[in-house]
């Protein structure tokens, strides 16, 4: 980087060169804002996955309990309930009326769900939602209601409170994170533009947008400009300052991003590249690169709190599915992209040791109409299912299955205001105090607080500070101790599986040699008792092992004579 003018300018403006970490910690303690940050900033990260165009939630999360109603509303595009491309039953432990399926190309989501890493909220929208792409997205991004028009977004306002001095600032109000300077942009948009979600009131956006840190860095190397230090008091001057700030921010953060990116190194996880089935469009997974980049930056130690990734192509008025098979086509490819990319992302985070601090939520400007149209597509609708991914998501399905016999102009009705989800995420995951969350979402009346802040959807697992997340999995997949144990002549092995499928239950001796195959067949989901005859086996220690899809577990069995 040729230019250091930004630093020069700052050191003139403020006596202390803060960016280089030269400030003693004791000074920080005197500053209320900084002290608050040290105490409360938990460093957790939120990724928002924006599904651009309005996702057809009903073909992503299928209301199994109302299948015939579902089918009749959209016979030309309905995901079938039988055959080898039927919907995937998500969770058989749910009561019948809550049972749902997911799109057959969402095996990754099913796998994550079984591991307790997926939460689904039905019927998310806002009151008086309308079918406009632009208004819908603006409302969700700005964090208001249908009657509001804010110039800023909820992420921008949150980050503005946490890092008020971004992108520059003065010595009394610095963006510090603990003892180290907050060197990173508080928000990062993968791509090239800056969305409303990151904008704060009357100021510079709280994010940087970058698609490739390396290319970006190299690009900046070729630019050398003098900083402008005085701006006329005019609209021209304001635009000039806006551009100058962006220019300076690019240089400072461009360098740092490259450093973090290099430090992060290559991933050990393979990300999906293409939708494996032939379809006319959208074959290449547009999310893989974006998620891979985020995982890498996190591995490299980036302190950015919010990431925004986007996938387009959801405005499926026509040819959402192939005419010959509603499980294939454009929307199927999009479902696959999301499911497979998120699965790889979670695996990457786990392998990098960053899984504990990252949560991902999906958003879309609206759901699509429950009734399909004649062009194998769907028009703009209202409520949509939100998915949350991550180790500390409260796993399960929330909000209640939409009632397909009670539509509003052919659309799913709102059951949950999106802010009931977001306030939970901000308060319980991002660690923003109650009053601050109220501020961020501009909940200025008791009525609004009661509706959106006190009435949260518990999407965050409150155990994340101390606990473990195994419980959910154990409720759905478990291999219990055999009874009786020690066993003589005969014993019973009890296990529970949440998915129907091929199951193997085998017995091994302590040398690891297979001595008996007790089950090797297709079993229905649910609880199973397997009676095992152990006569004729030498007394001693044995291991029995259950294999059901990706789930495997082993336990000990003592055989006595």
């Amino acid at each position: 980087m040729k230019r250091r003018n930004f630093l020069k300018r700052l050191s003139q403006a403020s006596a202390t060169p803060f960016f280089l970490g030269g400030m003693p910690v004791s000074l920080l303690a005197n500053n209320h804002q900084l002290a608050r940050m040290i105490n409360e900033n938990n460093g957790n990260v939120l990724v928002v996955l924006q599904m651009h165009g309005g996702n057809d939630g009903l073909n992503m999360v299928i209301p199994v309990s109302q299948y015939s109603n579902y089918y009749n509303l959209r016979p030309n595009i309905a995901i079938p309930e039988s055959g080898n491309r039927k919907y995937i039953e998500l969770d058989n432990t749910l009561p019948d009326e809550d049972k749902v399926g997911v799109h057959p190309d969402m095996l990754g989501v099913k796998d994550l769900y079984d591991r307790g890493r997926v939460g689904i909220v039905h019927g998310v929208s806002y009151e008086n939602a309308n079918g406009s792409h632009f208004r819908g997205r603006d409302v969700f991004f700005m964090g208001g209601g249908y009657e509001d028009t804010y110039r800023s977004g909820w992420m921008g306002r949150f980050l503005d409170k946490e890092y008020p001095a971004y992108p520059d600032g003065d010595a009394s109000n610095l963006p510090y994170d603990g003892q180290n300077a907050m060197k990173d942009p508080p928000g990062l948009e993968i791509g090239r533009g800056v969305s409303l979600i990151f904008r704060r009131d009357d100021s510079f956006p709280m994010s940087l947008s970058v698609d490739s840190p390396v290319a970006f860095h190299d690009l900046l190397e070729s630019i050398d400009q003098q900083s402008i230090t005085s701006f006329p008091d005019s609209n021209y001057g304001e635009e000039l300052k806006y551009i100058m700030d962006m220019d300076e921010q690019s240089h400072v953060y461009g360098e740092r991003l490259k450093e973090v990116y290099d430090k992060g190194g290559e991933s050990s996880i393979t990300y999906p590249e293409n939708y494996p089935y032939a379809t006319s469009q959208a074959l290449t997974n547009p999310l893989s690169g974006q998620f891979q980049l985020i995982a890498r930056l996190l591995r490299g130690g980036i302190q950015t709190r919010f990431f925004l990734v986007r996938i387009g192509g959801f405005d499926t008025h026509a040819n959402q599915v192939e005419s010959y098979d509603p499980t294939f086509g454009h929307h199927a490819a999009l479902m696959y992209h999301i499911s497979s990319a998120v699965q790889a992302f979670q695996a990457d985070l786990r392998a990098s040791g960053t899984e504990d601090k990252v949560m991902t939520i999906t958003m879309s400007e609206f759901g699509r109409r429950a009734v399909s149209n004649g062009s194998y597509g769907t028009d703009h609708g209202d409520a949509w299912p939100l998915m949350a991914f991550g180790k500390w998501v409260n796993p399960g399905v929330f909000g209640g299955t939409p009632d397909l016999s009670n539509l509003k102009s052919g659309n799913l009705r709102m059951q949950v205001d999106y802010r009931q989800v977001l306030t939970s995420v901000m308060q319980n995951w991002m660690g923003s105090p109650y009053d601050e969350v109220a501020d961020v979402f501009k909940l200025d009346t008791d009525e609004k607080k009661a509706a959106f802040l006190d009435n949260q959807i518990p999407i965050v697992n409150s155990n994340f500070v101390t606990g473990t997340s195994d419980e959910f999995f154990n409720d759905r997949f478990r291999l219990n101790n055999c009874f009786p144990n020690p066993a003589k002549d005969e014993t019973v092995i009890n296990f529970y599986i949440n998915n129907s499928g091929q199951v193997k239950l085998r017995l091994f001796n302590v040398e690891g040699k297979e001595v008996k195959v007790m089950v090797d067949s297709y079993l229905q989901f649910g609880e199973h008792d397997i009676k095992v005859n152990v006569r004729g086996l030498a007394p001693g220690m044995y291991i029995y092992k259950l294999e059901a899809g990706k789930f495997t577990a082993s336990r000990k069995m003592n055989i006595v004579s």
């Binding site: 026509a318 149209n373 062009s375 102009s409």
Partner: protein, 563 residues
């Protein structure tokens, strides 16, 4: 108070440059000089002069016309030649912008494209794009209402928003919704839901869900014409047609009576004749025309169009004061002239408001306050430097080599022409609250800056000398229409910064361009000497390097991003 009253004065250099940057694709020094001293009325009259229609695209290999309806060539095809007809069309249009001179027409064509933006990958038919642009040009200064009617039947639009799939038994709302939301009346404030026939709708003050559904029915039953042989007699341009029998009875048009909401005074529109669930094509067309009349009878429509014009030509923020003093009276002018655009442009571009002279502070509101779009940036550069660019008719073979890299550069600057991310078009023209600031992100800005590398590179990516698209800075400064005296370093910098930037720069900035960049720490006397050395020896290496550095620094400045 903001005012549309005419600006009583003559244009100085600053205001002449202001007018030309806003109303055209950018002036050169001689254009600004030519407009300096004119009254706004004289200047705007020149800009509004009617233009000859450009020659349609030709096959870059053979030079033969790709479109010529009079000769029976309705559709652009490559005819077996290895020609990308679609890209060729886009480069042709970029060349029209480059050649648009001191006239507003092509800028209005671009404005209309940003308003009725279509996405080429949804259309995949360059001929449809060509006729659409031709339609924009036909109505560039003309009747916006009729243009909007024609857009409902436009082949590109029929594909872009699925109009061809909108049939009576399966309404497809995509176009009907955007017609109201994006193209005509726009969104007012959202109001509470209303119950209609037992169903509840979320509504705007300007239109409701009921109107989206009713409009969709009025628009049902249209089809594209992939032969492009259906010619609209009003424009002489190819258009879509109705799905109809040989007897001209509709086959897919919804013949029910369509009832609009109270936003449209509960208007009912329907065919006069219905037989066997069908009506005449004439009746269906009349319904459409009646609906367009109905939409354009609303004052909100005129205001919506005026706000778009204001944001495009003047400034992105519309305060209550601007709404009251500028938008409302401008909308009255638009209505009084039956939606003909020319008088409105005339009024706006000659107004004291446009020249920031409607109050005592004449340099705080308007001039320099718009961020150039990438197309205005790159075309402005080639026009300012009067760079050699291929003629789209006689040098079509060179269009691709010259314009393909520029098109690519613009993508990195945030404008993928004909391929915006969403159907609303490029976000800078519709995304509140910051509108044109959407052109500036860390990435976009950096790529705008490095565009200087493209024009200063003498060779293309393959290492061949460029015929077009190269700025020979020596040739440029030696032409006294461009620079008064290149041997005078101070004069050289003054000439460039005065004509390239919208506002005067501070002494500190001037000092930077002169002493740090051009002279690189030496003195003006040394520059004079360097220049003489070049003139006697013919070796321009030293002066060329420094002038290129100066032009790079100017293009890579925040000031240059503004107009």
């Amino acid at each position: 108070m903001a005012s549309l009253l005419p600006f009583n004065g003559t244009l100085d250099k600053r205001l002449a440059g202001h007018l030309l940057r806003r109303a055209t694709f950018g002036p050169g020094k001689k254009d600004i000089d030519q407009f300096t001293g004119l009254t706004p009325a004289q200047a705007v009259a020149q800009l509004l002069q009617e233009q000859e229609l450009p020659t349609p695209p030709v096959n870059p290999l053979s030079g033969e016309p790709l479109i010529n309806p009079e000769e029976g060539i309705y559709k652009m095809t490559s005819d077996g030649d290895a020609v990308d007809i679609e890209s060729n069309f886009i480069y042709w249009w970029m060349a029209q912008m480059n050649n648009s001179g001191n006239n507003i027409t092509e800028k209005m064509v671009y404005f209309l494209h940003t308003h009725f933006t279509t996405i080429k990958s949804r259309i995949e038919e360059p001929t449809a794009l060509y006729y659409q642009i031709a339609l924009f040009r036909h109505y560039a200064l003309g009747d916006f209402k009729t243009l909007c009617l024609k857009m409902c039947k436009d082949n590109a639009m029929l594909r872009h928003l699925d109009g061809i799939q909108n049939v009576k038994d399966n309404p497809q709302e995509n176009f009907g919704r955007e017609l109201l939301e994006l193209y005509s009346i726009g969104k007012g404030n959202q109001i509470d839901s209303e119950e209609v026939d037992g169903e509840s709708y979320a509504n705007y003050t300007t239109y409701t869900e009921q109107d989206v559904k009713a409009a969709t029915k009025v628009l049902s039953g249209w089809d594209e014409d992939t032969t492009f042989e259906t010619i609209d007699p009003d424009t002489g341009l190819s258009t879509g047609k109705m799905k109809a029998s040989a007897q001209l009875m509709t086959t897919q048009h919804d013949v029910s009576t369509k009832t609009f909401s109270s936003a449209f005074q509960n208007r009912q529109i329907g065919p006069t004749l219905v037989e066997n669930n069908s009506t005449t094509v004439e009746d269906a067309e009349a319904e459409l025309a009646e609906m367009i009349d109905m939409i354009f009878e609303q004052e909100a429509t005129a205001k919506y169009i005026c706000r778009k014009l204001y944001r495009f030509f003047v400034y992105y923020e519309i305060t209550d004061e601007i709404e009251q003093d500028i938008i409302t009276p401008l909308a009255q002018t638009l209505i009084a002239n039956d939606y003909v655009l020319k008088p409105v442009l005339e009024e706006l571009l000659t107004s004291s408001h446009f020249y920031d002279s409607d109050d005592n502070e004449t340099n705080n509101n308007i001039v320099g306050a718009i961020i150039k779009s990438p197309i205005e940036l790159v075309t402005g550069i080639s026009k300012f430097f009067n760079m050699a660019m291929p003629d789209p008719e006689t040098e079509a073979a060179d269009l691709e080599a010259t314009y393909a890299p520029i098109y690519e550069e613009m993508i990195y600057q945030g404008l993928e022409l004909y391929e915006p991310f969403e159907v609303a078009g490029y976000s800078a023209y519709h995304q509140a609250p910051v509108y044109n600031r959407n052109w500036i992100s860390a990435n976009y800005l950096a790529y705008r800056y490095v565009f200087s590398e493209y024009i200063l590179a003498k060779e293309n990516e393959d290492g061949e000398s460029k015929t077009f698209g190269w700025l020979d800075v020596i040739e440029f400064v030696e032409n006294n229409q461009n620079v008064t005296n290149p041997a005078d370093a101070e004069q050289l910098v003054t000439d460039l910064v005065t004509y390239m930037f919208p506002e005067e720069i501070t002494d500190e900035r001037y000092d930077y361009f002169l002493n740090t960049v051009l002279l690189d720490g030496l003195t003006s006397v040394m520059w004079d000497l360097e220049w003489s050395t070049y003139q006697s020896s013919g070796d321009d290496t030293a002066v060329r390097t420094q002038i290129e550095a100066l032009i790079t620094a100017i293009i890579q400045s925040p000031e240059f991003q503004l107009m």
